[in-house]
Amino acid sequence: MEIDRVDGRTPNQLRPLACSRNILHRPHGSASWSQGDTKVLAAVYGPKAGTKKNENAEKACFEVIWKPKTGQIGKVEKECEMILKRTIQSICVLTVNPNTTTSVIIQVVHDDGSLLPCAINAACAALVDAGIPMKHLAVAICCCLADNGYVVLDPNKLEEKKMSAFAYLVFPNTTLSVLPEGSSVAEGEPVEHGIITSVTHGVMSVDDYFLCVENGHAATASLSAFFRKNFQQSQRDSSKAG
């Protein structure tokens, strides 16, 4: 039985994606990312000299500031900051610029479901725009579980509230390489199937979780292709201008 979604999408279909980079002039890198009506603006300043007090001075340090659309900063924002910070730390090459701090500022423009994945994607695009060295991108997707066991990708706010459980999953981006498949395998699985970050809400069975992860893999392929196309497009445009 297929699920009927309010906006007529199939369960595996993502909302229309839009990404524009270099939209702000002061930050060293900036990007705006929208998935349907959810829109997030990310700005990157850095690297700046010096690290924070308890941080390791032999590595680059990241600081994330999350600004909600309305209201004061509370525990929800602190948790999002921590998750984003740790995700960024795991994808960036920390040894290139030791003893520096890079600030990533996230401004929520509109929240219509799947906010944290949208912010992670926006932060990656902004980091690329700023030229921060990274190992790979972090591609984030929200998978939720409907009552009848179906996995639905990229829900909007109403769907998120109705669902019994949902998971935010972040994977490395899929690689496009000339070398044959066998060279990018770790533990019998392709490298892009490793989970960078996973945050779940609601109760689900362990098998359902793995089902969400599988569906997430399929979505990362299309998201990675979108990232690649978007970056190549702007590269072509800037090389024409310069």
Partner: protein
């Protein structure tokens, strides 16, 4: 990292403590290659866990949970409040996790620890989504009065696996909780009764199941959690602060009594989690849930 040859020469001459401080990762990997950790635990084993209920006499429910050296004190205070209009039959639980400066040398007064609000939110999400406490049981008079439970968890000693210990202390505090007896007085307000005397004046409006005794909550689907570290091919269960600072990939699995997964939390980290690693973590969490269930069961009998 330093020249590998020079550290090898130094290691034969250096004291163990110095080696542990200067080359921490190498120190740990030496142990991991023998499938042990510096405190002689096998990789998949959690530290000794103790739960002591009812320590705080002024609170309606309390518990102290110790996992190794990590110590958490949870206390619940119940107050009567008016329920909200969208859920007139439900009470409410407000959870706060505190990390006072006593718990760790990195926490200073006046500046809240980074981890505190994050753990606080994760705990309240986990407890509410697991459905352990049925909020309808906290209702007194539909639409007019319901219980609000203020659950405060204090970290007294932070030695790794803070979320696990905090969740355990919260669960133990809830099972130790005795809801105070109240009565509806003539003005229509809820008044607390301390001794159970003076029943002629007050008409007691409570659920039919309990009359004059203090009431215990029925807890279903109790969540149990286990934090693991992923490092290369190794999976270490229940890390200490030292291990957490050296190896940064932590995975927390929360399972409930019916083997459903309440939460799988992995927040970044240098190691990517493949499905084999996730499955092993879930297995370790299952074993740990059985151990914790037994410990809580023994606590109730006492």
């Amino acid at each position: 990292m330093g020249l590998p040859d020079s550290s090898q020469d130094l290691s034969t001459e250096m004291e163990v403590d110095a080696f542990r401080r200067i080359f921490p990762l190498r120190f740990f990997e030496r142990h991991l290659s023998e499938s042990l950790r510096p405190d002689a635990r096998p990789l998949g084993k959690a530290r000794d866990t103790i739960v002591n209920p009812g320590l705080v006499s002024t609170a309606d429910g309390s518990a102290l949970a110790k996992i190794g050296s990590t110590t958490m004190l949870a206390a619940i205070r119940m107050e009567v409040m008016t329920p909200s209009t969208d859920s007139p039959d439900e009470g409410c639980i407000a959870l706060e996790f505190h990390m006072p400066p006593i718990c760790s040398p990195t926490v200073r007064p006046g500046r809240p620890a980074d981890a505190a609000p994050v753990i606080s939110k994760r705990l309240s999400d986990t407890i509410l989504s697991s459905g352990m406490v049925d909020l309808k049981e906290l209702c007194l008079v539909s639409g007019k009065a319901a219980w609000m439970g203020y659950l405060d968890i204090y970290c007294l000693n932070a030695d790794g696996a803070l979320f696990d210990a905090a969740l355990l202390s919260a669960v133990a505090a809830f099972s130790n909780l005795e809801i105070p007896v109240v009565a509806l007085n003539d003005n229509g307000r809820i008044v607390a009764i301390s001794g159970g005397k003076d029943e002629d004046n007050a008409s007691i409006i409570e659920k039919k199941a309990v009359n004059k005794e203090k009431r215990k909550l029925t807890l279903k689907n109790i969540p149990f959690s286990l934090t693991c570290i992923l490092h290369k091919n190794y999976i270490l269960a229940d890390p200490t602060t030292e291990e957490e600072s050296i190896m940064d990939t932590l995975v927390t699995v929360v399972l409930d009594a019916s083997d459903q997964m309440v939460s799988l939390y992995k927040s970044g980290g240098t190691v990517l989690a493949y499905s084999s690693a996730v499955k092993s973590c879930v297995e370790l969490a299952r074993k740990r849930a059985k151990e914790l269930k037994q410990i809580l069961g023994e606590m109730d009998i006492d």
